[in-house]
């Protein structure tokens, strides 16, 4: 039976198909990065041996050591926005399939011990720090000191910078200062709600949004290119000292750059400042990116993320066995689970599409959420359901299937309630918070099954 067909553009990141829309498109060479990393990961998954810089791994710098599949933890806990889905997109396209989705409790319970890499994207840095708390900070520090790699952008990049602010003061891992910090609130031209955030007695301000031009310093492993683009959505402009290596500077703006403050202040805040840095800590490393290098529109930046992962992932880790608590679903049981998920996601998605232009927004923590964001989570699931349907087997934690379907039902219920309240001009702030939390859990639960299942179908 032919699989159902759905819009190819469920996600704005899926743009490599088209060359007609006038928006900067990856060219073939850039798109080939995905194939290159996918080939490496596929060969490794099949038990093949590859060395850095050789054969299939020629996209990576040369090194006299064999590659292995990295086990990557992706933080999806409290305070995260939707941008961790960009990492998911990158991992999926490059066939990094040994992925573990982690919330704050899992980090605090020691889940980092089993990882090579821990990735963190955007969100509300203070809420992330609050969620991880002292225990999470200690776990993260121990993970890095024992050789782990921390790859982070935007809020994830702010997290380990020196700070005396409550919660953040537990993460003072690197001696890098924030350049986009001011004693007074700068005059804002647009997007006032996104342009500044109170930071103790100071303000973190975001001079521009969207595409910025970056210049690499040529330091290993980021070699071979000089300039590239990446999008900035509130990430830091950094000032490093000699304990960190500068990997890239902010070098310019593009016709897609949106200025939130006047251009001269933007220039002063960003140009010539550090956009990407690498800092060693114990046996491990931190890669901190101001812009979202993981954003799916930017293959060159994605390539650098993948390079960093392979280059500085933890050097020695024992392979994990399938936990006793995991089960495999096949045949009718698998079909039923996929059908149940599909039903509920479709129901939720139908409501979310109807909400996409509704003029409403919610303030959750210090972040603003619009109804459009709902669809971002649901599309991340929807576009992968057919792939899951095609797999012969699904691997999941015991009872994860029931929890996932229950969570999907909950999301559907809240969305329908939200729509009814909007129609009736009633307050929705209280359920919006619950909705986004449930959406995050749902997406995390689904994607965990998705990635696990790929590994059991090789």
């Amino acid at each position: 039976m032919c699989a159902a067909k759905w819009s190819k553009r469920g996600f704005r990141g899926d743009r490599e198909h088209s060359s007609r829309t006038g928006i900067a498109r990856p060219n073939n060479v850039e798109t080939n990065f995905y194939h290159a990393y996918a080939s490496i990961n596929q060969k490794l998954a099949q038990g093949g041996k590859i060395r850095y810089g050789e054969d299939e791994a020629s996209v990576l710098p040369r090194a006299p050591r064999p590659l292995r599949i990295p086990r990557i933890g992706l933080y999806t806990g409290s305070g995260t926005s939707h941008s961790w889905l960009w990492f998911v997109e990158l991992f999926d396209r490059m066939l990094f399939h040994d992925i573990v989705f982690l919330n704050e409790d899992m980090v605090k319970d020691g889940a980092l011990k089993n990882l090579d890499v821990f990735a963190m994207s955007g969100g509300d840095t203070i809420r992330i720090a609050e969620g991880l708390d002292t225990k999470g900070a200690a776990e993260l520090e121990a993970f890095i000191r024992k050789g782990g790699l921390y790859v982070a952008s935007c809020a994830g990049a702010y997290l380990p910078l020196k700070s005396s602010k409550q919660y953040l003061d537990r993460f003072n891992f690197v001696d890098i200062k924030i350049a986009n910090l001011s004693k007074t609130r700068p005059e804002i031209k647009r997007l006032a709600s996104k342009a500044t955030t109170a930071y103790g007695c100071d303000y973190v301000y975001h001079a521009v949004r969207e595409d910025v031009l970056l210049r690499l310093t040529g330091r290993s492993p980021f070699t071979g290119v000089s300039t590239f683009l990446a999008p900035l959505y509130g990430g830091p402009s950094m000032i490093t000292d000699n304990t960190s290596e500068v990997l890239a500077y902010y070098a310019g703006f593009t016709d897609k750059t949106q200025f939130l403050v006047n251009e001269s202040l933007a220039q002063k805040t960003l140009i010539g400042r550090v956009a990407a840095a690498k800092t060693g800590m114990g046996d491990g490393n931190l890669y901190l990116f101001g812009p979202h290098f993981e954003h799916p529109h930017f293959p060159m930046a994605n390539h650098l993320v993948a390079t960093a992962i392979f280059w500085d992932m933890k050097k020695d880790r024992e392979n994990r066995e399938i936990s006793e608590d995991e089960i495999i679903l096949e045949g009718a049981a698998k079909d039923k689970l996929v059908r149940d998920i599909k039903r509920e996601i479709s129901n939720a998605r139908i409501v979310s599409v109807g909400l996409e232009a509704v003029p409403i927004q919610w303030s959750i923590g210090c972040k603003i959420y619009e109804p459009e964001k709902i669809r971002v989570f649901l599309e991340a699931i929807w576009k992968r359901i057919d792939n899951l349907e095609r797999l012969r087997r699904i691997r999941l934690q015991n009872k994860a299937d029931e929890q996932l379907v229950d969570c999907a039902c909950k999301v559907k219920r809240i969305l329908r309630e939200l729509k009814a309240r909007i129609d009736d001009c009633l307050e929705t702030q209280d359920i919006a918070s619950d909705l986004f939390d449930s959406l995050r859990r749902l997406t995390m639960g689904f994607l965990q099954i998705y990635f696990n299942s790929f590994r059991c179908n090789i």
Partner: protein, 439 residues
């Protein structure tokens, strides 16, 4: 079937609650084309279980002009024979994108239900709370419960629930081309509604050629015979009621078209709001969308004022009863009191005329509109109209618009079918299928 299709035939047994799917084979498409060619075939296959078959044409929901048609095929309570009712507005298109090309509904549910088709998923949902509700309340309730205002419904009202032969399956809040009493069949199956929403995608075999051809035909149509005409009143005028525009004018709010249909076959009248109002009215139900020209014409010819005709049309759609049949019975009885007419709905019985043209709905006027199609002799209208309707119902074209646009030739539709699907349909095969569905 890879192109212009979701490749799925859904089979729902309301009695057992079982839902299954079949592929839409290229072989079946090659033999029966689509639309009523395939709904008729599925009807025959499942005849023993009193099937109601929903379907679309292969061109439905595409960029081909007037590709708005969905169809309900079943045994008509009014004729005892297989008949086909068109549903247009946005419902035909919506069915196409639900992920199902055809839906076969079998058996009788033990309790009231509605069928919810969405993104390739079919759910039988409890409709106990909806039983007894009129069509408008039913659509409102389903949309609210499911959280989306764009859900399209094929719904029945009290007429269908009570087993009236005049019961109509309505579209959302409005009339449909069901002049066959299919509303009664829904009621007998305890099926209150079919709700449709889908966000699927249709691949095209030769996309550039297909779209080029669509633009070519759009260009020709734009300068065609109906240029400058609009709305239901100009259709009435073309049908001989030269003063129709003047008659309806005070109440006309706006004209609108069914999916991708270049002529606005629908006219919205404001009955309790100033019809010149442009801003969103406060009144939640200010008027009515007239989409049945023959019913409106019948009320006009029976001597109704425009306002009263529209009020009765609105009441018919709420009750879920065929407005053309009501108009005919009103003309016979001489009743013009709108309240009394509405009160009589529950006891309203025939006989009403059985539509001409065999299996196709008399909702589409049995004559060329705005263009003579080379058929100058009125005695030839019925044969011409029957073939024209068969073509529309096979490919998925609006059955009223097809009478306006000679540009939409059989030759063109065959060409579009071939470009769209990658199959090879010939005029001979089309002739065979037309003979088959008309017999």
């Amino acid at each position: 079937m890879d192109y212009l299709s979701s490749n799925k035939i859904l089979i729902v047994d309301l009695e057992t609650g079982q839902i299954s799917e079949d592929d839409l084979d290229d072989e079946l498409v090659g033999r029966k084309i689509g639309g009523v060619g395939i709904t008729s075939s599925l009807y025959q296959t499942h005849k023993d279980k009193e099937p109601i078959v929903l379907g679309t044409g292969l061109l439905t929901g595409t960029m081909f002009p007037a590709s708005a048609l969905g169809v309900v095929s079943a045994k008509s309570p009014r004729t005892g024979n297989l008949a086909h009712a068109p549903f247009t507005l946005k419902a035909g298109m919506e069915l196409k994108y639900t992920g199902f090309d055809y839906v076969v509904i079998l058996g009788r549910s033990p309790k009231p239900v509605f069928l919810w088709l969405h993104d390739g998923v079919a759910d039988i949902q409890d409709a106990s709370d909806l039983w007894g509700a009129d069509v408008w309340a039913t659509t409102d309730s389903i949309r609210r419960a499911m959280g989306d205002d764009l859900i399209q419904t094929l719904a029945i009202g009290p007429a269908g629930e009570s087993g009236s032969d005049l019961a109509q399956v309505c579209i959302n809040y409005w009339a449909s081309g069901d002049c066959w009493g299919f509303g009664k069949l829904f009621g007998e199956k305890n099926l209150k509604a079919v709700a449709l929403r889908g966000m699927g995608l249709l691949e095209i075999s030769e996309p550039e050629d297909f779209v080029d051809q669509c633009f070519d035909v759009f260009d020709k149509i734009k300068g065609g015979a109906f240029a400058g005409r609009r709305g239901i009143e100009d259709i009435l005028s073309e049908m001989g009621e030269k003063d129709a525009s003047e008659w309806l004018a005070p109440f006309i709010h706006r004209h609108s078209a069914c999916y991708n249909t270049p002529y606005s076959t629908n006219t919205f009248v404001y009955l309790n709001e100033d019809s010149k109002t442009l801003t969103e009215p406060v009144e939640p139900e200010p008027g009515f969308l007239i989409n049945d020209p023959c019913a409106l014409l019948a009320f006009k010819r029976a001597g109704f004022s425009a306002q009263n005709a529209c009020r009765v049309l609105k009441a018919c759609s709420k009750y879920g009863i065929d407005p053309a049949a009501v108009a005919e019975l009103c003309e016979k009885s001489g009743q013009k009191d709108t309240e009394k007419i509405e009160q009589s709905f529950s006891d309203l019985k025939g006989p009403v005329a059985i539509p001409d043209g065999g299996k196709f709905s008399s909702w589409s006027p049995a004559q060329p509109l705005f263009s003579d199609f080379g058929v100058s002799d009125r005695s030839a209208y019925l044969a011409w109209w029957t073939r024209r309707q068969a073509v529309a119902y096979l490919f998925g074209i609006h059955p009223i618009f097809v009478n306006m646009s000679p540009e939409l030739s059989e030759e063109l539709m065959i060409e579009m079918f071939n470009k769209g699907t990658g199959l090879e349909l010939s005029q001979e095969s089309l002739d065979t299928v037309i003979d088959d569905v008309c017999s």
